[in-house]
């Protein structure tokens, strides 16, 4: 492939949204209340919409007969390069909101930079997505504060979620080879430069939510290299079931 780095770079962005969108989609009809159910699935839909734009572009770059659906549905686990954070399960609503918040803050900062990309397609997708992601960030921030600074029980659950998910935050700022190549061409975002602003924002909101910022300096990694947590296989089994069972089916 001529533009292999660009192809890989796009998947690196899009896979996060695909997998998080799938996780949120699991809540369809299962959210803790009607409004939050609809909110989570709305966010899922936004993410899937963004993913389509990215994968359509990636398919064009690949230049073979590959389609957006092939990229989304027919890769093996090791070929997905999403961060570990987004594949973590909906253990309870505290986890769902905390995972969302930790990703939204990153996503917003990331897209704000991607908007400046020399690649016009990526820049257009970023501009479009930013409008949506600012709503996502409002939603998750709002709930994080409400539950963190809520009852003793909600606070305890939120603290448990933040302690449990904290270990997956550092990976957001790891650069892959494709990242480095794209940054040098003015196409990609230098994620290492987002780290400071990210933790500043996250810690400020946690503080406002009366939650304790975890102190652990031990962070998990691997997603960007295709090495996933145990939850990923189950997620993909559900995501890919139809295409695996009935190859090329359409509806």
């Amino acid at each position: 492939m001529k533009n292999e780095n660009l192809y890989k770079y796009i998947l690196g962005i899009a896979d996060n949204s695909l997998i998080l969108g799938q996780r949120l989609g699991e809540l369809t009809g299962h959210g803790p209340s009607l409004e939050t159910d609809i909110a989570c699935t709305n966010i899922s839909l936004d993410l899937f919409g963004q993913v389509r734009s990215y994968y359509q572009y990636a398919a064009k770059i690949a230049g073979d007969n590959r389609t957006e659906d092939d990229i989304a549905m027919l890769r093996k686990e090791r070929e997905y390069v999403n961060v570990l954070l987004v594949e973590q399960p909906n253990t309870n609503f505290a986890y769902t909101i905390t995972r969302q918040f930790l990703f939204d803050v990153y996503h917003f900062l990331f897209l704000t930079q991607l908007e400046k990309s020399k690649d016009l397609t990526l820049s257009a997708i970023a501009t479009k997505s930013l409008k949506e992601v600012s709503y996502h960030q409002r939603f998750s921030t709002d709930w994080l504060k409400r539950l963190g600074d809520g009852t003793a029980e909600s606070k305890e659950k939120m603290q448990e979620a933040i302690d449990g998910l904290w270990t997956y935050t550092d990976e957001l700022f790891h650069q892959t080879e494709a990242d480095k190549a794209m940054v040098s061409e003015g196409v990609g975002v230098d994620v290492t430069k987002l780290k400071e602003a990210y933790y500043e924002k996250v810690e400020a909101v946690l503080k406002e939510a009366t939650l304790t910022v975890p102190e652990s300096k031990w962070f998990q990694k691997g997603g960007k290299q295709g090495i996933h947590t145990e939850y990923m296989g189950y997620l993909l089994a559900e995501l890919q079931y139809m295409q695996r069972a009935y190859p090329n089916m359409e509806w």
Partner: protein
Amino acid sequence: MVTEKQNINQSLIPILEKVSDPEIPVLSIMDMGVVRSAVIENNKVKVQITPTYSGCPAMDVIGDDIKAALKTAGYDSEIELILAPAWTTDWITPRGRKALEDYGIAAPLDAEADKDVLLNGKRLVKCTNCGSANTRLVSQFGSTACKAQFQCDDCQEPFDYFKCLK
């Protein structure tokens, strides 16, 4: 920055005006502002449309509906989905805003007021049933990506509010 002019062949306007948003049937796609260009080249119509929200499932249907409407009028057509410049609620026409209100969806406020009602609990959105502004936000997300849920504290009617998107 987002005021790029539409380039639409006058003779196509009556045809395109008959196509509506499948999720909001009272609203023509022209009043919605999603058609960015429509030109005739060698008896073939090239149409560019832009999504309201990335995941808007209506876009595929709108594309098919445009094709069908143009076919009936004797044109073959080609639909292209473009992302830039990104759609904004400013592109909804005054007639479109009125159609929304009549249908029971409150039209988008300006960006500042929108922020106040969605984030700060201000009561500014007028109830589409009784006109009172004594309304409150039920959820920032509604039945489609573009709407939020509200309820009127006077007549008690729940209604949708079309969120401002800039």
